[in-house]
C-alpha cells in the first residue's frame, strides 16, 4: 500500500516541497527503512515513530515499511519528518484518507506528543507560496506558523489527537495568531539607560546617530571609560522592527531554533555580542550543513564586537563582504546557502595594548611599534566600512557625579529612541522606492539623489577633503552621516553644520610617532 504525505525541507532560508512516500508491503520481512539521503536525525526518526505509534494505542504494523523522501537527491535533515511518516504509516493501518493540500510537520516524542519544532515559520511561508491550505504542526509551534495569514494552521498536541482528526472524529479550529509575551532569547533588553552614563556626551551623540542611520561605529578608549556600557545601552535607543524587518528576523530565528515554544514575531532588534574567541564559522555561519552565524543572528540588529582588536584577523576579514552586501553566501560541498546579514556593527577597542594611551592620569607603557602593531591587527578595509569613529575619553565618575552640568544633559533612552524612530521614519519614506532601508546602505547613486548639499555645505566638505585628507570613501561617509544628522533634526535640507558635525566622526590615525 502506497501513501503520499506532503512536507518540506529547508535549505538556509529557502524551502523545498518534499513528498514523503510510505510503502507498507505485505510481502517481505518486517522492517523499517528510510531512503532519500536522510541525515542521522531523519534516520533516527524510525525509532521515534515506532514508539510513538505504539504508545498511541495503535499496533505498529509488522510489515516491510519503506519511506522515500522525494526528491531523493536533496539531503534531508531535521526531526520534523516524524509526523508525516507517522501519518503515512497510520493511514495504512487505520485506512483513512490523507487530506489534500495539507502539510504535516513536527517532531514526535516517545509518548506520542508533538514537540516544538524549529523552522515552523519558514514552513508556513512555503505552504502559502506553494498553494497548500492546511498545516498540521505541533501545538507549541502553531502560533509561529499562524504569523502567515491565509492558511489554516492546526495545532496538534499528540498523535492520538492527530488520529482522531484524520478519522473525522475530532474537529479542530485553526489557530489565530496572537502576539505572545515577548519571550525572545536573542535580544537582551538594554542593560543600561543612556541616562545612567555620566559624561561621554560626544560618544552618546554618536550612538544616537549610529542608531538612527544604522551606521557602523567604532568606540576607542581606555579600559573603564564606558565603551561597553554605551554599547549595552544601545538596544534601548534602537527603534522597533518594522513589519517587514520583523518577519525577516523571525525567519532567521525560526530556522536557528531560537523562537521559544508559543513564540510570536520578533519585535525587538537582536543584539549579539560574541566573545573574541569566536571562530570564523561561529561568526559568519557554516558547518557541513551551513548554519547561520552571529552576523545572521544579528540581522536588522546589532553585532557588538567588544575588544575589536583581539578578534583573530581572519575572523574580522571575513566580515568585509557581509558588512558591504548585507548577506552572506556559505558554500560547502553539501550545498550553498545564502543568509541575510544586514546588521549594525558596534566595535570597541583600546587605543593601545596597555590601554592607557592619552590617558590623563596613567602613563602608557607601550612602544610606538607595539601601538602600530596593535592597530594593524584590524585591516584598513574593515575600518573603511565603519562610518563613525569615536573616542571615549576617560572620565572621573566621582567628579562628574558632583558636576551639575554633567547631569543637566542626561537624556533617557526613551527620549533618544523617539528621535531615532522619527529619523528612521524619514528614511523609510525616502527609500520607499528603493531596496534599502537606512542611510548607511546608500550607494553613491543614492547619495547623489538624496543628499543635495547647499553650496556652502559642499564648500566645507571639499575643504575638509583637502585639509583632513579624506579618502573618496570617507568623503561619502561624511555625507551619509550628515544625512542622518539632518534626519535626526527632522529636516530634509542638509545644512553646513550637519557636515561640520559629521566630520567629527572621521577615522583617526594612530601610532604615528
Amino acid at each position: 500500500m502506497l501513501i503520499k504525505v506532503s512536507s518540506a525541507a529547508h535549505s538556509g532560508l529557502e524551502s523545498l516541497g518534499i513528498d514523503v512516500e510510505i510503502n507498507v508491503a505485505n510481502r517481505g520481512l518486517p522492517g523499517f527503512d528510510i531512503v532519500g539521503l536522510p541525515a542521522q536525525s531523519v534516520d533516527e526518526s524510525k525509532e521515534r515513530v515506532r514508539t510513538a505509534i505504539s504508545n498511541s494505542h495503535v499496533e505498529f504494523p509488522q510489515k516491510k515499511i519503506t519511506v522515500n523522501l522525494a526528491p531523493a537527491d536533496v539531503p534531508k535533515e531535521g526531526s520534523f519528518y516524524d509526523l508525516p511518516i507517522a501519518v503515512g504509516i497510520l493511514g495504512s493501518v487505520l485506512h483513512f484518507e490523507i487530506p489534500k493540500k495539507s502539510l504535516f510537520f513536527g517532531e514526535l516524542s516517545f509518548d506520542g506528543s508533538l514537540r516544538h519544532t524549529k523552522g515552523t515559520l519558514l514552513l508556513a511561508l512555503f505552504a502559502k507560496e506553494a498553494g497548500f491550505e492546511k498545516l498540521y504542526v505541533p501545538a507549541e509551534s502553531a502560533n509561529e506558523a499562524a504569523i502567515v495569514q491565509g492558511i489554516k494552521v492546526y495545532p496538534i498536541e499528540n498523535l492520538e489527537e492527530m488520529i482522531a482528526i484524520l478519522l473525522g472524529k475530532l474537529h479542530l479550529e485553526p489557530v489565530a495568531y496572537s502576539e505572545g509575551v515577548p519571550s525572545f532569547t536573542g535580544a537582551a533588553a538594554a542593560e543600561f539607560d543612556m541616562a545612567e552614563i555620566l559624561g561621554q556626551e560626544m560618544a552618546k551623540r554618536a550612538m544616537e546617530i549610529a542608531a538612527a542611520g544604522g551606521h557602523n561605529i567604532l568606540l576607542t578608549g581606555s579600559p573603564g571609560a564606558g565603551k561597553t556600557m554605551l554599547a549595552r545601552a544601545l538596544p534601548g535607543v534602537l527603534p522597533l522592527l518594522s513589519e517587514e524587518e520583523s518577519l525577516e528576523v523571525s525567519k532567521v530565528y525560526s530556522i536557528a531554533g531560537y523562537i521559544p515554544p508559543g513564540g510570536s514575531l520578533i519585535r525587538v532588534r537582536p543584539f549579539r555580542s560574541p566573545h573574541h574567541t569566536i571562530s570564523q564559522i561561529g561568526l559568519c555561519g557554516g558547518g557541513t550543513k551551513p548554519q547561520p552565524g552571529e552576523i545572521t543572528l544579528a540581522h536588522r540588529g546589532v553585532l557588538f564586537l567588544d575588544e575589536f582588536n583581539e578578534f583573530p584577523r581572519t575572523v574580522l576579514e571575513a566580515l568585509r563582504q557581509p558588512v558591504e552586501d548585507g548577506r552572506i553566501t556559505i558554500s560547502r560541498s553539501r550545498g550553498r546557502v545564502t543568509y541575510p546579514s544586514r546588521f549594525m556593527l558596534v566595535a570597541s577597542a583600546n587605543p593601545c595594548p596597555c590601554g592607557f594611551l592619552n590617558h590623563p592620569k596613567k602613563a602608557c607603557e607601550c612602544t610606538v611599534r607595539e601601538i602600530h602593531k596593535y592597530h594593524k591587527r584590524v585591516s584598513g578595509p574593515i575600518l573603511d566600512r565603519i562610518d563613525l569613529h569615536v573616542d571615549t575619553p576617560d572620565v572621573d565618575v566621582q567628579e562628574l557625579a558632583q558636576d551639575a552640568s554633567a547631569k543637566r544633559f542626561l537624556e533617557s533612552s526613551l527620549v533618544i529612541q523617539q528621535r531615532v524612530a522619527r529619523a528612521r521614519k524619514l528614511q523609510q519614506e525616502r527609500f520607499r522606492e528603493e531596496t534599502i532601508h537606512t542611510n548607511t546602505e546608500m550607494k553613491n547613486a543614492h547619495i547623489k539623489k538624496y543628499c543635495v548639499l547647499s553650496p556652502e555645505a559642499e564648500g566645507i566638505l571639499l575643504r575638509a577633503a583637502q585639509g583632513f585628507q579624506l579618502s573618496a570613501r570617507s568623503y561619502y561617509k561624511v555625507i551619509k552621516i550628515a544625512r542622518t544628522i539632518a534626519d535626526l533634526e527632522g529636516v530634509d535640507h542638509m545644512r553646513p553644520e550637519h557636515i561640520a558635525e559629521a566630520l567629527q566622526y572621521r577615522p583617526k590615525v594612530y601610532g604615528s610617532a
Binding site: 559624561g199 551623540r205 554633567a406 553650496p455 556652502e456 575643504r463 553646513p496 567629527q504
Partner: protein
C-alpha cells in the same frame, strides 16, 4: 658592499677618519672621539657649523610632540642643524619637524651604519638623506644596537652640538645621559619644562634644578646661538620653505599671522567664513577656553551646557580654518 635588507634602498656607506680635515671640529674636542665615522648622505662641512641636539623620551606625550614640533620647527627654519638619535618619540619627532620646515638634520645611530633602527622608520631615514641631512654611526656594517651602544651614541649626539635641548625625560631617561655628556663637554643644556604631574617631567625638573637653561620659546635657543656662536639666522631658508605645513609651523607664533593665514588659505566652493561668523560668539568662547587649557569636546559641552553636536560642529569648522588642532582626543590652539 651593502647587505640586502629587504626592499630598502641601500646606498653605500662612506667613512671619515679623525685625521680628516673635514672631521667635525666640535666632535674632535672629545677625548674619546670616534676614530672613524661612517655616514650616509652627502658630507657637507657646513652642516656641522651650528648644531643643536634635541633629545627626549620615547614615551612622548601629545604635549611633548607639540612643543617639539613648534620649537624645533622654528630653530631648524633659522638654519641650525638638528641632531638627534632617530629613536621613536621625541627623537623622531624632532627629525621630522626639522624636515618639515625644510631644515637639515643629522641622525646618529646606535647600530651599524647599514641597519635602520627602528626599521619601520625607513621613510624618515630616506627623507633625512634625501634632504641634505646625514645618517651617522661609529659602527660599521650590520652591527645591531645593544644596551651599551646607546650611551655611546649619546656622547656623539652631545659632542656634535654647541647645545643640547631635552624635551620630556623620565627619571632614568637616556636623554639625561646625553645632557650629562653635554655638560661634561662644557656645552649649554636647555630643558623644556612640562607639567609637574607628568612622569616624563621628572628628569626635566632634575635638569632645571641642576642649572639647565629653561626654554620658553625658540627665541631662547636662537638668541644663545646668535650672541655666543656667531650665528646669523638664515632668512632665506625660512622664506624658501614655502609648503603649507611650513607656514603652519612658522605662523603658529602669533594670532594675527594665524588670522591672515586662514584668510589667505585657498577656498573651494563658497566661503565658510560666513558660517563661522554666524556662530561667532561660540567659536570665540571655545577659543578662549582652549587658550587656557586644551580640552575634550565633552568638557566643553559641559562647560557651555550645550550639546556635543553643537560643540563638535563648531570645532570641526575651527579645525578646518586651522585655528585649533586635535591631538590625543583633546583640542589645542594651533
Amino acid at each position: 658592499m651593502g647587505i640586502c635588507l629587504g626592499s630598502y634602498r641601500m646606498t653605500e656607506a662612506e667613512v671619515i677618519t679623525k685625521e680628516d680635515a673635514q672631521y667635525p671640529k666640535l666632535l674632535k674636542e672629545m677625548r674619546d672621539a670616534p676614530k672613524k665615522l661612517y655616514y650616509k648622505g652627502a658630507w657637507n662641512p657646513q652642516l656641522f657649523k651650528h648644531c643643536f641636539a634635541v633629545v627626549g623620551t620615547r614615551r612622548m606625550t601629545s604635549y611633548g610632540k607639540r612643543v617639539t614640533e613648534q620649537l624645533v620647527g622654528e630653530i631648524a627654519a633659522a638654519g641650525v642643524t638638528i641632531v638627534s638619535g632617530f629613536m621613536y618619540g621625541i627623537d623622531a619627532t624632532s627629525h621630522k619637524a626639522a624636515l618639515r620646515v625644510g631644515g637639515r638634520t643629522i641622525a646618529v645611530m646606535p647600530c651599524g651604519i647599514d641597519v635602520i633602527h627602528p626599521e619601520y622608520q625607513k621613510d624618515l631615514y630616506n627623507e633625512i638623506v634625501d634632504n641634505g641631512g646625514l645618517i651617522l654611526s661609529e659602527y660599521e656594517g650590520t652591527f645591531l644596537p645593544t644596551l651599551w651602544s646607546y650611551p655611546k651614541r649619546n656622547r656623539i649626539v652631545a659632542g656634535l652640538c654647541q647645545a643640547t635641548m631635552v624635551v620630556e625625560a623620565g627619571e632614568n631617561s637616556g636623554s639625561l645621559i646625553t645632557a650629562n655628556f653635554a655638560k661634561k663637554f662644557g656645552r649649554r643644556v636647555f630643558a623644556v619644562p612640562g607639567p609637574l604631574t607628568s612622569s616624563v617631567s621628572v628628569g626635566i625638573m632634575q635638569l632645571i634644578k641642576e642649572g639647565a637653561a629653561v626654554v620658553t620659546s625658540a627665541k631662547d635657543v636662537l638668541d644663545y646661538y646668535c650672541q655666543n656662536l656667531k650665528f646669523f639666522p638664515s632668512l632665506s631658508l625660512a622664506s624658501k620653505a614655502g609648503s603649507p605645513t611650513t607656514k603652519k609651523i612658522l605662523n603658529s607664533g602669533s594670532n594675527s599671522e594665524l588670522e591672515q593665514k586662514s584668510r589667505s588659505a585657498p577656498f573651494t566652493g563658497s566661503s565658510i567664513d560666513s558660517s563661522i561668523s554666524s556662530s561667532n560668539s561660540l567659536e570665540q568662547k571655545i577659543l578662549e577656553q582652549l587658550r587656557a587649557e586644551p580640552k575634550e569636546i565633552d568638557e566643553l559641552a559641559r562647560l557651555f551646557e550645550m550639546s556635543a553636536a553643537q560643540i563638535g560642529s563648531a570645532l570641526s569648522l575651527l579645525e578646518l580654518s586651522g585655528a585649533v588642532t586635535k591631538e590625543g582626543g583633546k583640542y589645542y590652539i594651533a
